[in-house]
Every structure is written in structure tokens, then in C-alpha cells.
Symmetry: C2
Amino acid sequence: MVFEIVERDLMGRIGRIKTKSGVIETPALLPVVNPLKLTIPPNILQANFKVNAIITNAYILKKNCYDEVVLKGVHRFLDFNGPVMTDSGAYQLLVYGEVDTTPEEIVRFQELINSDICVFLDVPTGSGVSYKIARETVEETIRRGRECLEMKSKEDILWVGPIQGGEFIDLVEESARRMGQLPFDIYAIGSPTKFLEQYNYSKIVEMITAAKNNLPLDKPVHLFGAGHPMTLALAVALGCDIFDSASYALYAEGDRYITPNGTVRLSELKDTVCTCPVCSKYNPIEIIQMEKEMRVKLLAEHNLHVILNEINNIKYSIREGRLWEHLEYDSRSHPALYDAFKLLKNYQDYLEKGTPTSKKRALLWLSDETVNRPEVKRHLARLIEVEVPWRPKILILVPESKNKPFNKSKLHNQLLNIILAREDVLKSVQIAVLSKMFGLIPVEIEEYYPLSQYLTPSGISDTQLRLIKEALIQFINRNCFKKIILLNDEAQYGSALVEFLLNIREENRILEVDVFQLNRSNYITREDLVRLKTTLTAGVEKC
Amino acid sequence: MVFEIVERDLMGRIGRIKTKSGVIETPALLPVVNPLKLTIPPNILQANFKVNAIITNAYILKKNCYDEVVLKGVHRFLDFNGPVMTDSGAYQLLVYGEVDTTPEEIVRFQELINSDICVFLDVPTGSGVSYKIARETVEETIRRGRECLEMKSKEDILWVGPIQGGEFIDLVEESARRMGQLPFDIYAIGSPTKFLEQYNYSKIVEMITAAKNNLPLDKPVHLFGAGHPMTLALAVALGCDIFDSASYALYAEGDRYITPNGTVRLSELKDTVCTCPVCSKYNPIEIIQMEKEMRVKLLAEHNLHVILNEINNIKYSIREGRLWEHLEYDSRSHPALYDAFKLLKNYQDYLEKGTPTSKKRALLWLSDETVNRPEVKRHLARLIEVEVPWRPKILILVPESKNKPFNKSKLHNQLLNIILAREDVLKSVQIAVLSKMFGLIPVEIEEYYPLSQYLTPSGISDTQLRLIKEALIQFINRNCFKKIILLNDEAQYGSALVEFLLNIREENRILEVDVFQLNRSNYITREDLVRLKTTLTAGVEKC
């Protein structure tokens, strides 16, 4: 198997792509090496940046250094001792409108120079083209893809199948579906660059999900030209595994300094805002005064450090099961990223597929968008699915305890004392926790991850209250409670839940709603305990 | 003047504290140097970390190396060529309950060793003490403060006045008010450590604002023991200027690795998640296998890089006028920080004081909490304050244009054509933009910063809609419109504003509400233009 998935979170994954020159751990960022201008030489990329795979351009190699690179092979030519991916000249086709080679020549050439991962000469859709033209790029790319698969003669090279369609989501879907049926080792999504430049990250979300939903999920996916740290986590979370970046060097040429959340002109910086080896040594004012060549070299190094570090942080978030938190945090760096993040609520089913049912860490409620995370949806889905098997007639609603789970709380003990006293009561009662993360949690399942492993801010938001109400309605609909007892945490909920329960009472054929106000430490007072016992016994007999 | 403020944002500032050994640029983090254990030697702090001021402990120096440090002076003793601050042993008093010196001895000793910034032997409140004890620490600290000021004999030393009170906010206020009347050069807020450890950042917000509101605002403020990068921006935004950090070394001793958003055990890290010189050279697995001494040294270096980098990033945010965005972003790293951030809505007036009226950059709407930023409050306050001088009778409400300001939009041109045609119409009309950041903006002022310099996500949130309605009510109350014409962007607002205007119509004695639906590109159709012209002319005559 070429691609092995090691860890997952959302649709992101840590994986291993096996090539004849070594393993690439994904998510991976392959720095683009321009063979005509080595801003950072490949052996330095390997030694100082721990880069273990690079991407270069076969078309440029073929046009400018044919003899030498054929003689030496691309690895020795570039002095890089690890996987080398070669792009085909499609980018040049996009920019210049034509290239001085044929699809066949480029396939043969890539085999000849012994590249590890190769792209045939696809026809990028680009942006701003008509639907008709876009469709043609899809068709022609697929035709060339088939041709490439027939033509290729080496078994130890991984071939990439590019997806076209650009802004036309239906074409992306079709392109992915048809390309996905061809036996490529890796698929690639083309043409996001324009949308990235326009901060149209929502379009990127649509493009990636359109492609991924129509591709085999066990194959790695490359997202072309999307190497800025700002959007990497989003792309990984949606299922992209490989990225390339020319920006680290191109931005450096323009004195642009990449930060985790954006790009600034070097001249705008007074303070060092980065810990990388370059920035630890020189401050921005020193760098700007250097000779161009040195300045570009240092800036490129800084830029690459920042990009690679974001890849490492994404890996860390996947391992920790905190990729959603990573996205939620990132989304507060720019309104456009926030827009794209908010869109994820439309892809909950998709994102849930990859989200593990068990994780190391607590889930964090970081804003009302947390309600869209797949774990919440997953819990709500189960809540509707399962009817409580002993068919209890009485539902006791309790607030979240300060320390979870609720079954370790004093209030739970108070309840148990009453409930365990009579078997008929025990059999008639369902206790459920009102949860600011999951809406409602029957106590029997609260120790299953993550139902007691989460942190929420103090207070309650409208969204959390809505979540609780929705979960309540669904749980009540699925079961046949005749009586509901609310142990109300008034400081938290006020009378909101009381009113809500009274409102839904009739249509759910509930005979009684009984409310007990808890004291400030969320205990039942002694008098209320007596009353609760009475109401429970009466309830069991009546219902 | 000892302290000069160079730039401001919120209540944060970039400043310069002049000491006899050089200037300290604030916000500044002073690494704590333990003279008995130099994890990172002071000269290395200066050379490799660009640290220009350090803090050490006078009590430890006095107890352990009296002769040598008196002979050499603290600078030569520590081999540090820049400002040295000395703490007094109050921390030892807090931890061990007693110290082997007197307030007088410690004042004399600090003068003797020629320290630049000195703290007299205050009595820290700590946490978990009774109100009575806490009050005693306040009283005794003030008494010793007075004594110190009488006793001190050198003019070239800056003395620090510590504020006590701990969790008792009224005591913090009193302590600050009375200490603030004594002529110290710097004030210091004590005892936040326990609350920081408990993630009780809301308490920190209360403590700092309680102190700052009672201190002279032109003096620098030190926040003791709060050197973790997670909360630095919040503390700076609330007006703290100086921090100390022993944690960089103490955490290293415990194999704890500081990140911008938290602390993790080194053993939990598989990937490098940092670009600092240490992490660029070694990965966590390599570091964990090293000998203890080397491991602690490297971890301390890493930790310090991360902390100092956050200080630099805070400075950058202040210069860019993006400190609010910095906080909003940070707040999504942990629910406890989000809690503290949400509290800022209670301190809008305070935060507004320091917020410049003009900035370089656009404001970003990053979540519904953005509504609490001082610029929004400031605008709303002015909106209520000022009655439109020409007393227009007709209010035309227009949606935000895609590119701001609105007066450059096609819709504005369409309106002008009609309005300019008749002088009586011109004199009767007020155009105001419905703004997702500021609620409502009269077109006459929309080019004043920041009313056209902001970015919001697509769509409209409940909070934004509420903001618009509130601004509308206040603007309508302040003026005497007889007719309101809404040019409705239906895709954005649906019928929400139509209903709202119809509802408030009677109580505001408005004769007519007229609605025109805009087309998808936010233009008025040709037919509607004719109708608008008629309704305007009729309106002018009627009102």
C-alpha cells in the first residue's frame, strides 16, 4: 500500500506515503525548488529545515538542463537525498497559455530523470474562464490522464491525477469522480490560487469537499499552490495531505514576511515577531538594510520556517484530537477565515467520518460555533436513535456538575438515596444532565468519551440554551415520559427551561412538570428532598 | 520623566522607562535570574535573547553572597550590562512565612549593590487568607512603603510600590489608591499567581482594573509572577507594563514546555511545534533523551524564546492598532481566557481611554464579542450626542456597500442624482448606512476613521442585527424624522428591518415608512428610482 493512515481527526490525517526514495509523512509541505534559482539549496532544506521531500518543475528542467539532469537523475542533479516530486509545466501553461512540449514528452522525461512522484501535463482550469472552457479542461485532463496511465513504463513512480473545474463546483465533482476511477496513486486539486489571493476561503472549502466527496478516501490528496500557513489547517481538516509552497521564496523576493496569520511587508515591521533562527539573529530593521541577495535568502528561510511550523502544529493538533480547536482558533485571525470556518456546519457528516470516537483530551467550547463540531452532532444523533430500554416514565433533569461526571456529585448522591429506596421508583426514572456542550446526557452514558471530558466558559449562551432545548425535545419525543422533574440551577438557566418545559408539555402528552430550585451550591435542600421523594412515589403510581 | 509613553492601544502602551543603566522598552518581560543557579547566564540573555533588563532577588543575594555582590555591585556580579531590578524577599516571605532580614536592611542593601529598580520588603497578601489578614497586608505594606521613601538615600534608583489585597477587590482598590498617592516610580500588582494557576483569568481582569483605576495612569505598572505568554496580552491591554518570569526556568526543571497557548509535558510532544533556535535544532524526542542539565538549559531557552516572542507580538499589535484583535484571537485558545475576554465588555469606558481615534489598519469583526470593542462604543456614544444640524425630516437607510465608503458606490450616485435635483429635498434628507460593525453611520462622517475601515464576515449575526436596531433607535430618538425610507438589501436583512421600523414607527411619531427592495447588486431599479423621486418630493412637502 502506497499510503498508510496513522492518525485522524476531522477529515485530517497523519499518514505515510511510500516512495522509492523514502517515506513522506503527511500532512507534508513540499518546498518548491526552482532549479534555475536555488534560494535555499535542497541539501540545506534537508539539513536545516528537516524537509524530507521537495517539488520541482519537470518542464523547466527539460527545457533548460535536459542533458545534465537526464545524466545525473533529478536527485543527484538537485543534490537532494529524499523523495522528489515533479510538476509538469501545467502552471506555465496556465500563465503563458502554451508550453514548448507535449504530454507524452513530459511523461517520458519524468520517468527518465527518475522522479518519485510525477504529474502528467494537465490543463489547469484557472479562474475567470467560461463554464464551457472549464469543462474542456476537465475533459482534456482526464483524456491525458488515461494516456499517461497507458504510457507509463515504470512501476516505482507514483503518478498524480489532477482534478480540474475551478470555481464550477459541479465540474470539480465530475472531474474528481472520473479521475478517481483512474488508478492514480495521488490526486491533486488544482486552481485554488486565485481564490486564496482573494481571501475567498469559503470557495476553497467548497472545492475541496466537492473533490474529496468524489475521490477514494484512502488516497492522498495534494492541494496545489496553497502553501500559506493561514489556510493549511483548514485544508488538512477537509482532507488534503500534501501541499507545495513556492511562496516562501516568491514572497521573499518581494520583501514580504509571512506570519502564521498573514503576510506583511518587511518595512512595516519594527519588532521581531518570530522566534525562528533568522529572526532570533536579526531584527527586521537589520534585514531590510542588507543586500538584496542576502535579504531574500533570510526572508525565504524565515517564511519557510513559519510554514513548516504550521504543518508541525497541525500534526500536533491531529495527534491531540484538537484539530477543531485549531480551526476555531485560526478562524479568529481574519473575517474571511471566520466565514470559511462557519461554513463547516454544512459539512458535519463529512467531518464526522474521520473524527475518532475516543481522544486524549477534553473538548473545548471556544465560541458558539463549537456547536457545529462533529462530536456534538454525533451525540445528538445517538440521543434520537436510542429509546431508553427500561422505558422510564419519569425524567429528572439535572444541571452539569462543577466537576464531571455528574454521577460523582453530591446532588447525584442525594438523588440516588431517594431513587434506590424503592425498586418501582428506580425502574421508572431516567436522570439526564443538561449539558452546555452536548445538550442532554443520560447519566448512564456520561462516562463515555467525550461526554464528561469537556470545558465550557462560565455562563450560558443563546446557542447553548437552544442546543439544550433541541436535545430535550428530541429525547422526550423518542421516549414516553409522563412526568418531568427539573432540578433547576436558577443562577444559570433562570426560568428559561421551566417555561420551555411547560410549553412543550401538552403536545408531548406529559402529565406533570415539577420544578425544584437548587441552592447556590447545586444541592437540594432538606425540605425539597422530602417533597421530591413524595412527588416521585406519587409519580410512579400515577404514570 | 522616568516613564514616557510612545504608542497606545486599549490601555496597553509601548513606553520607555529610564534607569541609570539604560532604557527599558515596555511592555517588558524581565527574566528572573536566580543568582545561585544561572540556568541561562545574564550575558547570554543579553546577547542571544536581546533581553535588556533582568530581575533578581536581593534577599537571596544578601543571604548568600553579601560580600562579593556589595564589592562588585549587582551588575558586575551578575555580568549584566543593563538595568537590573531587585525583588525584596517578599516572595520568600509568602512561601516560607518569614525571612531572615528586616525591611530596613533590604532597602539599604539594594542601594548598596546599586540596583536600578528596587522593591521594599512588602507583605504579599497571597491567596486563601481571611479579609482581616488581607487588610493587614495592605496596611503593613503601605506603612513599609512610607518608611522606605523616608529611608532611601539615592536619587538614581527607581522604587516600586506594591499593591496588595489579593482576591478582595475592594482592598486592591484601597491599596492602589493609597499607594498611588505615595511618590513611587513604578507600581506593582501582587498575588495573581494562584489565580493564574487556577485558570481564573477573570479574577486577574478584576484585580488589574481595580488597581489601575486607582493608580496614576502615567506611571508604569508591574504585574508580579505573570510571565506566561497565554495571559500577557490581556494584562498589557489592561495597562500592565512590566512582567517577570521565573517560569521559563522553573518549568524547564519540570520538563514542561511552554507554548503560546499553554504548557505541555515534553514527553507528550512528538513533533516540534516551534521555530525557535532550540526547536529548529532538536526535536522533542532528542531533547528528552539528553542529560538533565542540558535538557533543562535547552527547555529554559525554548520557554524564554516563546515568552519574549509574545511580548514582541504584543508590541506589534499595539503599533498596528490591533490589540483588540490580538485578544479576541487569544481568547479562542481556552474557555477560561474566553471568559476573561467576555468580561471586557464591563470595562469599555476604561479601555476606550487609551484607544487612539486614528489607526493604521482596518478593524476586524472576528466574532460577536467584537461588538464590545471601544471603537464601537465610542461611535454609538457620538451618534446619540449629536443632533443632525440641518434637522432633516427624511431618513434614508442604505445597506453597506461592498467597497467602503458608501459615498463611492453606485447606489449613492443614484440617490444623489435624485436628491441634488431639488434643493428642498437636499435639505430634508439624511442618508445613513446600516453598518455591521458600527450599527449606523451618517454618510457625512463615514470617511472618518474607522467608519469605513473595517472588515466583517459575510452574512449577519443576531448581535449585528441588534446593534443596528439599537443604533437606529438612538439616532431616530435624537432627531425628528417624519419619514423613513429603507433601501433594503433583502438577501442580507430579509424583512427584519422592515418589521422593526414599522414597530417603532408610532412611538417615534414617524408618519411614513417606505421600503424599496434593492436588486442583487444593491442598485435601485429604474422604476423604483422614479417612485423614490416621487415619494421624496411628496415627503418633503408633507413633513
